[in-house]
Subunit: 305 residues, 4 copies
């Protein structure tokens, strides 16, 4: 089967999964999204680009934004960033304060919320507080779509209800791990998470992760090969909340998910995959999206495990 | 020896302890207090009142304010208050988030910061947000000193630096345990802690705790006998941060301390003791104050153990 | 009312509480005990001795044995014992491994199982391993009842099923906190707990705790006044498993309970109280026994709070 | 460069790393091993077999034994085994009791000690207690080396000093998660860990993990493709103690290490790699071995990330 047929077949086979998950309810702004959306894009390193379903429709990328912000931090600071955040799986709920408290405010990895806050704080410190604009510009250029933007309503609704993130930011500050005031940092964090991009936008923008750090669109390296490997290793071991081991088994690819229902997966030296479907499983990953990626891995034998 | 001689003897004997502790530094507004202050008052249930040192000089009562706020909450809500906060010792640092997280946001007791925030939130809900004014009026009447007041500079400095309390308030809110917005609650909490009272003011105001709930000055019950016993039991088992067991051994009285250097102790059916000296031991209790109370217990044989 | 009438009244008033608790089931040897037993003794410092119900019937003292073993350790080692075990409440279940792990194998106090194991280990090291015989002799002399003995069947049944204690002992050993092999220590510990004594035996033997360390029967000090105060402080703040605060409120006396249904309480400088009734509340303390002590405190006004 | 040259080059390049790590000292029997040993084998799925250094010298495989025991458990019980043990990274030290206690005795994954004990217990229950003999036979057949055997002296020394494992086994039993008596299970576990195999033995025996479950030597499937993927996913996310993320970055292959200094890594559908060198890094993984695998991944571009 060639790629377009594979995608059509996946779209058909995932259909029975609709209705088995739940759209994220804790962010008011996300509740309005129709649950039965599905989009998927495969972007090959060597240029091929294949999409199915609502693959050009923008959605809230949420925690997927931790990826480009980490890419920015690594470009700006190199290995310095690891003085602020660890590189190992956390073993507890993605937003737990317990581990953070016991480990004196050093987050386990950049993909738990505490770690993402620390990464954002570092980028803010390196950009005179303009991290949100810098990330937006970065992703506009990388995706070659200058229309992508934050959804300030979603950001505001998340800021209003994000008490656990506020607890984390304040605890980080109490341990002296962030330089911004917690309120400033939280506002920027909610904005970061509210970015709206389509599967296609994400696949183009994050393709460097499948290509040793080089963007084929820009013909330019945005990360070194070593940095790219580091991010892929982090995705493989920490990218899927509490389902890292289960996702590695089912899909076998480095990936990062968001509660908006998006998942970005990388086949190193081959392609970048993005899938979107809003219903989440109990770990907070897109239920239909994971099923789609599992089918893809099985049909293409591109799982790395 | 009669009481005035006992107090003079104590004042003499504690002198060598000065310089062994440290004035609280994490609240900027407290750092300016001269470390060698010492005041002590014994207020008998039957009317006698004895003081030594700077016993009429107002100081920042800080966590001692958890006592009158709890008294208010119990008067207003009765047993209802225990739906929001526990009654057992915490066994971990007074501000730890770990226990709070594991116990789903229900604080262990009203004297850990989380518990005090929950008590304050309850009083705010019962007073249309006017808890600070209500507590001030309550203590002015009970102490018969209408000049006592909050120190808004100390409150502001604590609010600016109290990131750990902010983490706690946000975690409480994330668990749905408080009704006020965290920022509103924290502002009221810092104000509550900033109250300035002298040893004499406190001894008069809290004398009901030694008298089955009845204020001898007002000839009026502010608590029932049962409520009074509850508070004394909480002071005995949870009132002295991480030194509850050690304080019970050395002094053997229900007591509550504050990082401003004050300690209130109760000899049930007998007297209320208040001591103030700003240098703290490693647990955050007044070092000289504890020594003074230990001497008092030894000289008067009033320890209940 | 005089003391015999008070005890008869208590016996009458506690009757409706039978059937509300549960006999400890995790120690097979204890399950056979009829649940409706009730005995109570008041032993005055100045000689009076009053009993009601089955107050001369031996029962399994279980964790009450932590008291005499601690008394022995303090007599033998003085302050040295506190190098091995803390003096503060634990705030978590009496057998939790979590706190022990985080605090590097130093138990919080001598009344959690880990602490009792460390105390026993110390006594074993000071008696060439003969701690069980030494404690038996000690209590025979103190109670003036030379017929009291261990119940080796109960000990054996507890040893067989005490996996959590075995985990604790091994963790203590892994941290280098005990000198005996875990198996040797556990065997001695289960034997210690299996001691059978009546309310009367216990009241006589532990009366020194109400009398500044002096046994009125022997006219001899077994502890210093200071050591006695230390033990009373530990009972007050750590003696009743997870109900320390609640028991302080209801009864207001230093006390130690055991899952056999016994409770020893102390009115300093006045009397020693022992009550026995096998049904336990949710914290593992005798339900009827606690009710009896509460009635006693209310009728005699001997609560220290 | 062809494979023999690559291995010779690796052997040369790792030399400066000797002396930077430490041989495991907590197992007395391992301390005698000379620290400067080095052996490495690459066993291709399609038959090629390349070795360098002491690649035929048997060493103590220790935690690598968790792999074949898990393979046995999966063959015997299929998906049933996951009722007893999780599949996600633990995020805390490989032997921590804290997580086990909070998660009610269900170990996070089969590669933490608690998980390995549960897997062994399951195999013992399925083999009338003959798990040790069954695993030995299994590995003799798979490696085609019938001389491999346990080192009972190492097993005995580990049993004597393994108090933390004893704590874990007893805690598992207290939660009802194992059926064997803790002592029986611990004895079998220490025996399991004491197995002596060479790099070559291990590479041949574990080659099915690189070949969809089929042993090329036996021309027989020992696992299904699905089971093989599960084990590789577990190795990728949980196989290297606290260095899973770091190892994924440096080497990018599913792997399992042991404190004897061995590491098994898998290039799916390609080859099985085994390296041995006794000095360990701070996470307990072979320091020189990890360096060798990193060089291998770089020179061959076989990293999957």
């Amino acid at each position: 089967m060639d790629m377009p047929d594979i995608l059509l077949e996946i779209e058909r086979e995932v259909r029975p999964h609709f209705g088995r998950g739940k759209v994220a309810s804790y962010i008011p702004g996300l509740k309005r999204v129709p649950p039965d959306k599905f989009g998927m894009v495969v972007r090959m390193v060597d240029g091929g680009e294949y999409g199915v379903g609502q693959f050009t429709e923008p959605f809230s990328i949420q925690s997927i934004s931790k990826l480009p912000m980490l890419m920015l931090a690594m470009s700006m600071m190199g290995e310095e960033i690891w003085r602020f955040v660890g590189k190992e799986p956390s073993g507890s709920a993605f937003n737990s304060l317990v581990q953070l408290e016991y480990e004196k405010g050093v987050p386990r990895n950049p993909f738990v919320n505490a770690g993402a806050l620390v990464v954002l704080d570092a980028v803010m410190a390196n950009t005179q507080g303009k991290a949100s604009q810098v990330m937006l510009d970065y992703l506009r250029v990388l995706s070659q779509n200058f229309a992508i933007d934050y959804d300030r309503k979603v950001a505001a609704s998340e800021l209003r209800t994000g008490h656990r993130n506020a607890a984390i930011a304040n605890l980080l500050r109490a341990h002296g791990r962030i330089r911004q005031a917690p309120d400033t940092l939280l506002e920027a964090y909610c904005l970061q998470c509210s970015l709206e991009m389509s599967c296609l936008d994400l696949a183009r923008a994050l393709l460097p992760l499948a290509n040793s750090g080089v963007s084929p669109l820009l013909e330019e390296a945005v990360l070194t090969d070593r940095q790219t490997r580091r991010i892929n290793a982090l995705m493989m071991t920490c990218g899927m909340y509490d389902s890292v081991g289960s996702f590695a088994f089912r899909v076998g690819l480095p990936a990062k998910s968001g509660v908006g229902g998006g998942i970005v997966a990388v086949v190193p030296r081959h392609c970048c995959l993005v899938v979107w479907s809003p219903e989440l499983d109990r770990s907070g990953n897109s239920l239909v999206g994971t099923a789609a990626l599992e089918l893809f891995a099985r049909m293409t034998k591109l799982s790395i495990l």
